[in-house]
Each structure stands twice: as structure tokens, then as C-alpha cells.
Amino acid sequence: MQAYLWLIPIAPLVGAALNGAIAMAYAKRENGPNERLISLIGCVAPLVSFAIVATLFNEMRALPAESRVFHQVLLPWISAGPVHIDFALMADTLTMVMLLVVTGVGSLIHIYSVGYMHGDRGFARFFAYLNLFMFSMLTLVMAQNLPLLFVGWEGVGLCSYLLIGFWYKDLVNAAAGKKAFIVNRIGDLAFLLGMFIIFVTSHQLGHGTLDVPELRHLVAEHPEAFTAVATLACILLFIGACGKSAQIPLYVWLPDAMAGPTPVSALIHAATMVTAGVYMIARLSFLYELAPTAMAVVAAVGCATAIFAATIGLAQRDIKKVLAYSTVSQLGYMFMAVGVGAYSAGIFHLMTHAFFKACLFLGSGSVIHAMSGEQDMFRMGALRKTMKVTWMTFLISSFAIAGVPPLAGFFSKDEILWLTFNASVGPSWLPGVLWTVGFVAAGMTAFYVFRAVYLTFHGESRVSEEAKHHLHESPTVMTMPLVVLAAGACLAGFLGIPAVLGGGNIFHHWLAPVFGGHGGGTEGHALAAAADTVVRATGENHSLEVLLMLLSVAVGLAGIGTAWFLYNKKPALPAKITAGFGGLYKLVFNKYYIDELYEYTIVRPGYFLSDKLMFRLVDTGIIEGIVNGVGIMARLIGSTVRLAQSGVVRTYAFFFLIGFLYLLYTLLK
């Protein structure tokens, strides 16, 4: 099946092309294209990829651990001087996990959006973009060298722009799309610089390459050359990741991205695109190992984002905004895990998060669909009577994210917390801080998720009159994916049961070849060492691990309890509390005025710089000034000289004579 590796990304591309063509053909016509045909093409493409991925997965499981890698070089892409880049696809265990997540969740979301987008004018266009997104995500994940990865990276950025701003007629959506794209571009710039640095250093070593396996060997052979550069490169790459995965400095675009249709938020802003950053760092883990400071930075930023986004999530009124901030904080967790070197834990949390977060988003989607567009939780309530399935799946996913055993969330989040606790990255105090912050954030996550649950599904119904009549359960085409995802949320956890609870941590072993298993890790090679620390730590003090596990479950339940108490028992209480905190609440509600901060610190000065300074002063003032100046000068001189040309010939003769006199004088002097 290795020969069909290229078909995985190409299938959605073909789907996108077909749907795109049909969309353009029907663009001018009144009636839209036949929705059945479009949805057929749209859903078949990802399902084909999913089928191939599944067969590959079986083949790979059959292979021994060491040789679980498939390669396929399609055709040479760039060869200019020392640079040789070609369309090379690679699928090792890490890619396989990502492929499963992307194609699996992707297909479900495609099916879901058939129902969700029913009757929308841009139905064909939507599916074309969605397939295109699948193609770019798959290229990103399967790329063997960094430039191809970057192509995927940009592709997903583009598709997120197109999809966020899907209903472009509404200015707010268009602006949100634009914002997402620009912020991503900033991150991409940093990513590019990082890539250049890697290439230059590898070039200096005589063999300039951006191919990940080759890089891995080079780093293994000349670690000292790379360490000098690693910190800078890794930080730059991490900034790129922040842009794409919405971490602290560049996360502002994600909440606004909710302006797009809900399946988009589910697919792009929960399951796939935002995780690209984590995947990239995991992919270049051998490089990060050489830069402990960079890893510390990653961890710190991840942890800060986690707590920060969680606090904002507390005060949100819009259901999708709450989920968006929870995604940001969960991503913070993943980066924290990757930052401390627990790559497999990070990826594991990524997989589990994909399931329950997609399920939450789709659930909120069907709620909004039912409420015909209403997103404010304080205008919903008691929907559990009418939307049984959505409520049930939403509840299961909420429990999963809150980290209640035996659901997936518990295992992955707990593993991260445990591993960060034992990590040895950065200054000594850092692991402790990381753990406590993560711990508090876990509590908050539980609280705000269940707040959303109680506000939307429980309590008395605050639904407006006319919305009440349309209240209905979503069609099966939407509820079926919800059920599957909810099942995934339940079962995914069992893949990574830690040793202390008797599990074989299959997931960790699955990813071992990529992260640790190289050559037995005995030659003191940094990469192997990091992996060993992870294994050794879990082995020794079981009791401490169990204690921490219990603590995290307790904080989760506490969160759920307070939410139940506040929003179920005494619905009026939250209003009083918020009034009490007053300023703090307003601050949190308005997202710490981060947007306004950026507005004044970057956007405004940007305008000022470009408009006043560059345009008026420099452009018109200086440049045009010079150009017009020359013209004016010429006219000035011309007019003065013109006086001399009085047209009376005799005056010319007169000047002539004066000239002669002067000549005479000089000669005779």
C-alpha cells in the first residue's frame, strides 16, 4: 500500500477541484447546484483517504517497531544551487496518529456539515474549501521536508481564512478571516526564519538539507554545530507554532474565528489546524532537545496560555467563545507537555482533545442550528428536553474534558501534569510552577465547561418566543457524528493507560521509535536521554503519581460541583458574584482588553506609521517633494532666464557686447 501514499492528500484535492468547478459554474445562476451531488463528492474524498490510512495503519502495526516508516518521493520540486527539495511524503508512527485523527475527525465533520450547511447559498463552495483544507493539512502532516510542511502550513492558513470569512457578505466575518490570516502570517514569518537558520547551519556542514530524516542524522553527527544555533531556531519555530496554534502572543485570532460556520470551528480550530504547531515541534523534537532554554520557553508559554485562556473562558456569554478559549487553554497544556519533553503525552492529549473538543463544537453547532443562529448561552436553557442526543454527547465530552476518569481527558491531562511535575527543564522551580498552574487551570476548565452545560441544557428555558417554535433535535446526519465522537472520547483514553494503573501505555510505545527509541539511547545522545527521563520518572514513585492523579480528579469534580451549584441550584447567585467582583469581572469579560491593547500598541501605530509618517511625510513630503521640486525649480530658473529673452534682438546684441568687453578685459589684464 506504500505506493498509494500520495493518494491520501490528492483525494481531497480532487474533491476540492470538482466541487470548486461546480461552484464556479453555478456562481452566476440563481438556483444553487444539486446539494446531493456536492455532498457526495465532498464526503467521499476524505473517506477514501481515511480508508487508505486505515489499511496503512494495519500494515504498519504488522511491521517491527524500528522500521515503521513509509517514504515516497513524488517528483523533484526545487533544485537551485545547493538547495534540493522535492515532493517527498513520509509516514512514520507520529504521522500515522495525526493521519488517523485528521482523516477520521475530518470525515465525520464533513458528514455533519452536510446537514449543518443544508440550504446555504455557498454549499458547493463550502465543501470545496473544506476538501482543500483536508488536502493542505494532510500535506503538512505527511511532508518529509520542512518546505513541503510549510506549504501545508500556508495551505491550512489560507483555508482557515477562506472558511472563517465564508459568509463574507457580513463585514465582521470578513474582518475576522482577515485577522486570522494576518496573525498567522506573522507566525509563518518566524517559521520561515527558523527554517532558513536550519538550512544555513546544515549547509555550512557541507550538506544543506531541510529533509527531516537527513536533519536527524546530521544533528546526531554534529550536535555541537546545531546547539549553538538551536535555541534561536527553536524559538523562531515556536513563534510560528504560536501563530498557527493560537498561543499567548498570537492567540487573538482564534476567538474571532468563531465567526465561521461551526463545522469549520470544529475541524480547523479544534481538531486539526491548531494542533499543527504541536505536531511540528514534536516532529523537530531532536532539535528542541538541543535547546533546553527553548523548551523551557515553550513550556512556560504553554502554561501561561492555559491559565490565561481558562480565566477568560469563565466569563464568556457566547457558547462558541467559551469552547474557543478552552481550545486555547488545552493547546497550552499540549505545549506545556511538549515543552518539558513529554512529546508522546502531548500528542496523546492532542488526539483525545481532537475527539471531545470536536464533539463539543458539533454539539454547540447543532444547538445553534436548532436555535436558528442564537449563540448567547444566557438566552438558552433547558434544551435537554428537546435535544436528547446532543445533550447526552455534549455531557459525555464535558466530563471527558474535565478529566473525569475513565474518560479520555483524564488519562492524557493527568499524564501531562505528572510528567511536567517530574520534568527537569529550565530552572529548578519551573516544573513545580507548571504543575500548580496546570492543576488550577484543570479546575477552571471543568468549571467553565459545566457552566456552559448547565446554562444551555439545564435550568429554566430563557429561549425567546419565536426561537421556541423552531426548537428541534438535529437530523441524524448531524447526530450520528456526535455519537461517534462521544464514543471516541470515551474509548481513546484506554490507549494511554499509565503503567501505575496497570496499563501498557500502548500509545507511548507506539510513538517510541519517533521520540526515543533511536539506537537504544545509550551513546549519551540528548534525544534518548530525554525519553529515558520520562520512563524512569514514572517507574520509581508510584505512590506520588497516584496521589497527583487523585488530586487532579478531585479538582475536576470540585469544578463541576461549583458550576452545578452556581448555575443549577441558585441561578441568581452568579449575577451577584459578578457584581461583587465588578472591575475584575469586566476585565475578564472583555478578554483583558487584549484586542484593544493590540489595537493601540500595534495596529494604531502601524496606521500612524504608514499613513502619517510614511505616506504624508516620507512619500508625499520627501519623494514627491523632490520630484515636484525639480519641476518647480526648472520652472523657476526658466522664468528668470525668460526675462532675458525679451524678443528685442538688440538687447541680445547688447549682452553680446558686454560679454566681449569682459573677454577683452580678462585677456588684456
Partner: protein, 164 residues
């Protein structure tokens, strides 16, 4: 003896020139100029330049001046046309001053010329010798001058002809 003749002729020439410049009526100016030209012809004779002397009389006094006077007659300017704008004294003084200054400057310049006393050959200045020289050394300019004259004639005819 020769000096006396020179001074007389020079005087006549200068007076003629001054009259040309000062007289109101162009015709009287023309005749003043004719007298100046004829006196110049005399000076040429003094300088043993018989060919140039006869040419001066024949070409200048005989042909060119006649042409000018002919034109003056043709135009037949009546009194008021000849009236020139009142002369502004400043302009007069300035011009005179300027020309005088230049004249003295040039004369001073001529002062530096070393004392020349080339002895003149037997047939110096006669028609044969000058003609011979002209058609030997100066043949090329001679041809060019003929061309110039041809062009001038054609030009004059073209210019002065009434539109057909």
C-alpha cells in the same frame, strides 16, 4: 605725404560712419556710408591693395549700396514712418559708453602687436597676383563662396517674389 592722405581719408571715413549712425533719414545715412566706403577704398589703395580697392568700389559702393538705396527708394518711407521713438538719453549714454570702452580696449589690445614691416613683392596686391593666389591656395573657399552666392540669389528671389 602719404600720412596726410591717410588722415584725410580716415577722417572722411569716421565722419561718414558717424553720420550714418546719427542721421535721421536712412537715405542720407546711406550716402554717408557710401562716402565712408569710398574713402576706405582710398585707404586700401594706400595699402597697395589695388585689387581690393577696385573691388571695394565696384562691389560695395557700386552694387551693395545701390541695392540698399534702391530698397530704400522702393519702400518709399514717408516722414512719419521714419520717425523713431524718442531716444532715451540713458540708453544713448550707456551704449556710447559701452562701445567706446570696447573700442579703447581693442585698440589697447592692438597696441601689443609687434612692429611689423614686411617688404612687399613687386606685383603685390595687383589683380594677377591676388587672382593667382586665390585660385591656387584658396580654391576651396572660392568654390564655397560661389555656392553661397548662388544660394543667396535663389533665396532672394524666393523671398522677395510676390506670392504667385
Amino acid at each position: 605725404m602719404e600720412a596726410i592722405i591717410f588722415y584725410i581719408l580716415a577722417a572722411v571715413a569716421v565722419v561718414g560712419a558717424l553720420l550714418l549712425v546719427s542721421l535721421r533719414n536712412p537715405l542720407s545715412g546711406a550716402f554717408a556710408l557710401v562716402s565712408a566706403l569710398v574713402s576706405l577704398a582710398g585707404i586700401f589703395a594706400l595699402l597697395n591693395a589695388e585689387f581690393v580697392f577696385i573691388l571695394q568700389v565696384l562691389v560695395y559702393a557700386g552694387a551693395i549700396m545701390v541695392l540698399i538705396i534702391f530698397t530704400i527708394m522702393l519702400l518709399n518711407l514717408n516722414k512719419e514712418e521714419l520717425r523713431e521713438a524718442p531716444v532715451s538719453p540713458i540708453r544713448l549714454v550707456v551704449t556710447i559708453g559701452l562701445c567706446a570702452a570696447c573700442a579703447f580696449g581693442v585698440m589697447k589690445a592692438f597696441g601689443n602687436i609687434p612692429y611689423l614691416q614686411g617688404e612687399i613683392a613687386e606685383g603685390f596686391g595687383s589683380i594677377e597676383s591676388v587672382g593667382a593666389l586665390m585660385l591656387s591656395d584658396f580654391l576651396y573657399p572660392f568654390e564655397v563662396i560661389s555656392l553661397v552666392l548662388l544660394v543667396a540669389v535663389v533665396g532672394v528671389v524666393l523671398l522677395a517674389k510676390k506670392a504667385i
